[in-house]
Structure formats: structure tokens, C-alpha cells
């Protein structure tokens, strides 16, 4: 065993990477051989986006200990900037793959900027107050995007902010060859779908590497210290705002990239998609997967995205069944009697339990 793998945490991280790569290979193989129903095959890219969202939110909620309820807002920023980047570069960069990478980078950068700007006032708060303000921020982003009209022609990108609700695409003054990308309340429509499962897999890997390495670094230990006891951390000279901000901005950037991936996988995307429910959905992935547990987030995001679709035969009752499944999972994973039973069957369980939280 190489020297660096002797470290338990490093080993744990590498197994996580290995499992993700293995899952990707298995799924790709099954897809190539038409072993996956179309219903799941069509969801592969959104699942990757949700996984990255869950990982990134876990960094804020699980690792930094700040409850954020506006994560869909960053996804929205990333999605729309990513779509605009991809659509406006359609001629300059004909290769879909390179264009998607540019879109992801643009999405990540703009969401990081949004995260930084919002982080300055928001991160002065903590606990419930932080949750409320981030929630409000998510709603504000949604309203702002609803007012946006963006188009592109050979002279460049044109944007209008439709505050009165009276402007239309015609007011952009596009030339003959130009076309509208974001049409106000209608959202982005008629966009090309360039996201691929491979790109989604790469993004998941990048998100994992970034987050796990951040957590293991000196910065990460400082973030954990701030989470565990802010006063103690401050007393030894750790700037709480700085480290919370680092976690918040990195998380926003990853959410933006996830948004760009998601946005470029659908031909139509309205701003209302990224509402409060979306933020809560991501939070559910994080909580069910385990706070600070990246592997858990990945599994939870994948399973909970497929679950409502797999429950289609319950027709009208499927969201009811979905809710019941969520509650059962929540009870089952936190049931002391059940845990005792498992620990009796598997004596190693207690040491595992500590290891489970090893991500953070």
C-alpha cells in the first residue's frame, strides 16, 4: 500500500472516488447495451446535477454548519449564465464538449460572484436568521430572472431588465440573425441541449475532489473548528467570517456549475423551476444522506431523484408514497433500537459510525 493511502481519511476519500468511477462505468456499460430503461437514461444528466448540488450544499450545511435555504438561487444563476454562454458561443465554438465546459465555468464563476456578494451581508448572521435570509435571497433571484430578457446577435449580447412587465423580446433590437435566449417569464426556451452524462460524471468528480480536499486542508480544519465552536475558534485567531465565506463561495460556485449542466440538458427552463421547493429538495438529499457525509449525499440524490419517477404507477398518490418513503427512511436511519440491533449483528458498527462521519 502506498504511503499516502495509510492515512485512513485519504483512503476513505479514494474509495469514494473509486465508487463514483465504478458507478459511472457500470451505468455507461449498461446504457451502451440498452439495459437501462429510457426513463432512467433520460435522468442521468439531471441526477449528476442534483448530486453536485447535494455535495455543494453539504459543504455549507454539513461542513460549515450554516443552514442555507436558498441554494436553488445559485443553481439558477449558474443555469441562466451557462445557457447564455453556451447559446451565444454556438458559432464561435462549434464543439459541444468545449462549449459545455465554457458554460460550466461561466456558470460557476457567476454563481461564485453572486455567492460572494450575498455572503457579505448574509454571513454576519447565523442559525435561523441565516436560513431566513438565504431563503429570501433564493426568492429574489427567481423574481430577478423572471424579469430578464436576453438575446444575442452578431453585435453581442443584449439584455433588458423588464421591471414594468411591458417590454418584450422585440425591444432588444436584435438584428435578423439574432435570437432571444431568455424571454422573461417564459424563461429560456428553444435552447440546444449539449449536456452529456460524461460531462455530468466529470463534474461530480471535480466537485468531490474540490470539496473533500478542501475539508482535509488547513482551511477545512478551520471551517470545522468554526462550525464546532465559534467562540473557541475565534479565541485562537481564526476569522470566522472568512472561513464561512470560503465554504459559502465554493459551494455557490459548484452549485452554479451544476445549474449550468442542468440548464443545458433541457430545451426549456423557466425561472420558477428554481423555487423554494428545489432548495428544500436539495436539503432533503443532504439531510437524508447525512450531514457532512458526501457519499451519503450522492446516494441520496440519485435514489431520491429516481424514486418519484419509479413510483409513477401509483399515479395520483405517488407524491404521498414518496413522502411516506422519506419518513420511513428518516425514522429507520435514526432508530436507536434498529441501530442497537445492527450493532449486535455487526460488532464493528460503532467504529464504522465514527468513520461514516469522516468526510467532515
Amino acid at each position: 500500500m502506498p504511503q499516502f493511502l495509510k492515512n485512513k481519511k485519504t483512503r476513505h476519500d479514494f474509495v469514494t472516488y473509486g465508487l463514483v468511477i465504478l458507478a459511472f462505468i457500470v451505468v455507461s456499460f449498461m446504457q451502451a447495451n440498452h439495459m437501462i430503461p429510457r426513463m432512467i437514461a433520460g435522468q442521468l444528466v439531471p441526477i449528476c446535477a442534483y448530486i453536485v448540488m447535494a455535495i455543494s450544499l453539504n459543504l455549507v450545511v454539513g461542513v460549515a454548519g450554516d443552514l442555507s435555504l436558498g441554494h436553488a438561487g445559485f443553481m439558477s444563476v449558474g443555469a441562466y449564465t451557462g445557457i447564455v454562454a453556451a447559446m451565444s458561443l454556438a458559432e464561435a465554438v462549434p464543439n459541444d464538449g468545449i462549449r459545455l465546459v465554457i458554460a460550466l465555468l461561466v456558470g460557476a464563476a457567476s454563481a461564485a460572484l453572486a455567492g460572494f456578494i450575498i455572503g457579505i451581508p448574509v454571513l454576519r448572521l447565523s442559525g435561523d436568521y441565516l436560513a431566513i435570509v438565504t431563503l429570501a435571497f433564493g426568492e429574489i433571484i427567481k423574481e430577478v430572472v423572471t424579469c430578464l430578457i436576453v438575446g444575442v446577435d452578431e453585435r453581442g449580447i443584449h439584455a433588458l431588465f423588464n421591471l414594468t412587465g411591458k417590454l418584450t423580446v422585440d425591444d432588444l433590437g436584435l438584428t435578423e440573425t439574432g435570437f432571444a435566449i431568455i424571454k422573461g417569464a417564459q424563461g429560456a426556451a428553444g435552447t440546444e441541449t449539449i449536456s452529456s452524462f460524461f460531462a455530468g460524471f466529470l463534474l461530480v468528480m471535480v466537485a468531490l475532489v474540490v470539496v473533500l480536499n478542501l475539508v482535509r486542508s488547513r482551511t477545512g480544519r478551520a471551517i470545522l473548528a468554526v462550525r464546532d465552536n465559534r467562540i473557541a475558534a475565534e479565541s485562537v485567531g481564526i476569522s470566522t467570517t472568512k472561513y464561512r465565506m470560503i465554504a459559502f463561495v465554493v459551494s455557490a460556485a459548484l452549485a452554479g456549475a451544476a445549474g449550468a449542466l442542468f440548464g443545458n440538458s433541457f430545451s426549456q427552463l423557466s425561472a420558477t423551476k428554481f423555487d423554494f421547493n428545489m432548495s428544500i429538495l436539495i436539503l432533503v438529499f443532504v439531510v437524508l444522506g447525512g450531514l457532512g457525509n458526501m457519499r451519503g449525499s450522492i446516494v441520496a440524490a440519485a435514489v431520491l431523484t429516481i424514486l418519484p419517477e419509479a413510483l409513477r404507477q401509483f399515479s395520483d398518490y405517488r407524491m404521498l408514497v414518496y413522502a411516506i418513503v422519506l419518513i420511513i427512511v428518516m425514522i429507520a436511519t435514526n432508530n436507536d433500537t434498529l441501530k442497537n440491533l445492527i450493532s449486535r449483528v455487526l460488532p464493528k458498527r460503532t467504529s464504522l459510525e465514527e468513520e461514516v462521519r469522516a468526510d467532515a
Binding site: 417564459q186 419509479a310 467504529s351 464504522l352
Partner: protein, 395 residues
Amino acid sequence: MSSLTGTFNPVMNRRSVIAGVAGLGATSILAGCSDSASEGGSGASDGAAFKIGAIGPLTGAAASYGNSVCNGVELGCKDFSTDEFPLTSKAEDDVADGEKSVNAFNSLADWGMQALVGPTTTGASIAVAEVANSDPKVFMMTPSASSPDVTANKTCVFQACFNDPNQGENAAVKLAEMFPDEKFVVFYNSGDPYSAGIRDAFVAKAAELKLEVVDEESFKDDSQTSFTNQLTKAKDAGATMIFAPIYYTPASVLLTNANEMGYEVKMMGCDGMDGILGVEGFDTSLAEGLFLMTPFSADEEKNADFVNAYKAAYDEVPDQFAADAYDAVHAIVMAMQEAGLAIDADPAEIAEKLPAAVTSIKVEGLTGTLTWNDKGEVEKDPMVYVIQDGKYVAA
């Protein structure tokens, strides 16, 4: 063994593995029994039937539209089913969301859908149309998604309803014929692409036809509980007729407000206003004299068979969503026969050959005489009705 598990175990995240296995187990069990969903039509039992899928919001805020469409498809599959050409249908819920709609489409594709009637809402239709038009293609006809983006640059995607620009232009033409001397105010929902799309085309065409539009008033979804402000402005501007390309719920509020402030004004709406007589708590006498440009009237003699069958099956009066969906099924069946395609034809083959057939047929449907151009847009005569004694009367 113990040393082996000892080295391996600490890095196994037992909890997530258990959760994952449990989840996968649950999904596979559920996937195994997925034949029970709402299948309708005849010939479902012997398996050799033409499979038509329907997508719409069966739950959530837009559920009434989705249910109408899915019921219309189901009834259409029952009525147009023959011994030689049996039809079966299956409806899936998309909650009016693009992502869910694509999922619904893919699960219908797994079911073996050969042609799609849907989705119901515009946003979902744009998302699904892109998927339906990429390999492997599936023929799609949306009964109610009215944005031109739905059919743009797609070979196997058709609309059974007017698109928004056409509807706006038709409305301007009709108003110029019927009321050339009125002063108009346009009332529209700026947050709704349907409403804003019609408004844009109407305003452009009205300028061309020299209709006098004295005012424009807009609102958004979250401010549709009172229109007194906008009505006061319109009244001050001297408007004598409202053109309101909006849905029936805000329209009922608009009529009530106008009545409360004693504003005597004529009003015309588009197909979204169909259903205004069924709004709960709305005094339907206020809708007397209201003009609507809608392709379908449940009160017309020629539609009586459909209306009665629909009432018997679903216990409500069909609206234009149901009628458009019914006509879409009609068109698909006719086009299949026109193209000479077999009942067990491959969806990709249908998607390739059906478009040419659809553009060559003429459907005598519930919503008029329908033909299609090669862009996938429907061509039919716009019809204007006026509400008299609680019934639609051709105007």
C-alpha cells in the same frame, strides 16, 4: 477473513450502502409491477393495439387542463378504435414542469408509445419536443401548447391548437371586422407567455389594421385578485372594449371588478377564457355578452355526441383542451391510415412518415376543419362565440 474485513470495513460507509440497496430494491420491486397505470381504450387486453401516450399536469395548479387533455385522449382512443385499428392510451403526470415532463415522456417511451398527444403546457412541451425530435424520434402532437418555439425547427412535432401569434392576429382581424369603431384596451398577464405572446401579435396586427388601442394594462400571477386600478386607468383613457387574452379565473375577477365600478364595457377573450361559466363563486350573469375566440363550443349541435359521451365518462362538460386532444387523436389515426402504416409500426418509422401524412390530411374535427402546414402549425378557421343566456352562440 477478519483482518480482511478489518482493513476494508472502516472505509465502507455501511449506512449509505444499506440505504442505497434498500432504495434500489424498492425501485426494482416497484418497476416490476408497472402495468397498472391508467390505461384506457380498447384492445389493451390483447396487446396488439396502437399505443398513444398523453402527458399533462394531473396534479398541481394546472391540473384541470391536464386532466381535460388526458380525458380527451382516452375518449378519442375509445371512439376512433376500430377492429382493424385498435387504440390504447396511457396518461402520465408532469405537474406542468419541463424536467418531469421529459421523465414522463421517457417512461411512456418505455411503455412502447408510438405517438404522443401532449404535453399540455407550453414550457413542458418545448422541453419534450426537443427530446421527441432527437433520436430515436417519436411523433408528437400537442393539443394545447401554443408557443411557436414548440414546433420551431422540428420535423415530427405538431400543434392541434393555434399558436399565440396566429391567435393574436386572428383576434385583431376579427375585431376589425366586428367592432371597427370601438376604442380598445388590452389586458394581459405579462408573466404568462401565452398571454404576452397573443398580446404582442395582437398589438402589431391592430396597428396594421388601424384599430384604435387607447391603453394597455398588465398584471402578474400574484396580483390577479383585483383589477380596479387598471380598470380605472382604462376607463379614463376612454376604452369601450377590452381585449383580454387571459385565462378564465382572472377574467372572472376582471368582469366582477368592472361591474362593481359600474364600467359598461364590452370584452373579448381568447381560448383561455373558455371555462369562465364554471368558475366557482362567479356570477355568470356578468359574462353575458362576453365574446370569446375559441375553437370549440360544447353547446353546438354537431358536438353533442362528444359532449354527452364526455359527460357520461367524466361527469363534467368538456372544454377546448379536451376537444383539441380528441382532435389530435383523430388526426393521428387518419394520418396513420393515410401513410399506410401498420398498427405495430416502430415509433421511429412513424415519426419519419407521419409528418408528411399529417400535412396532407383534412380533419373534420370538433374544433373545426383542421389542416397542417409543414412547420407543424395547425390551420383552421377562428370562431368567435358570444355568451347568451349562459350558452355559447356563434357571433
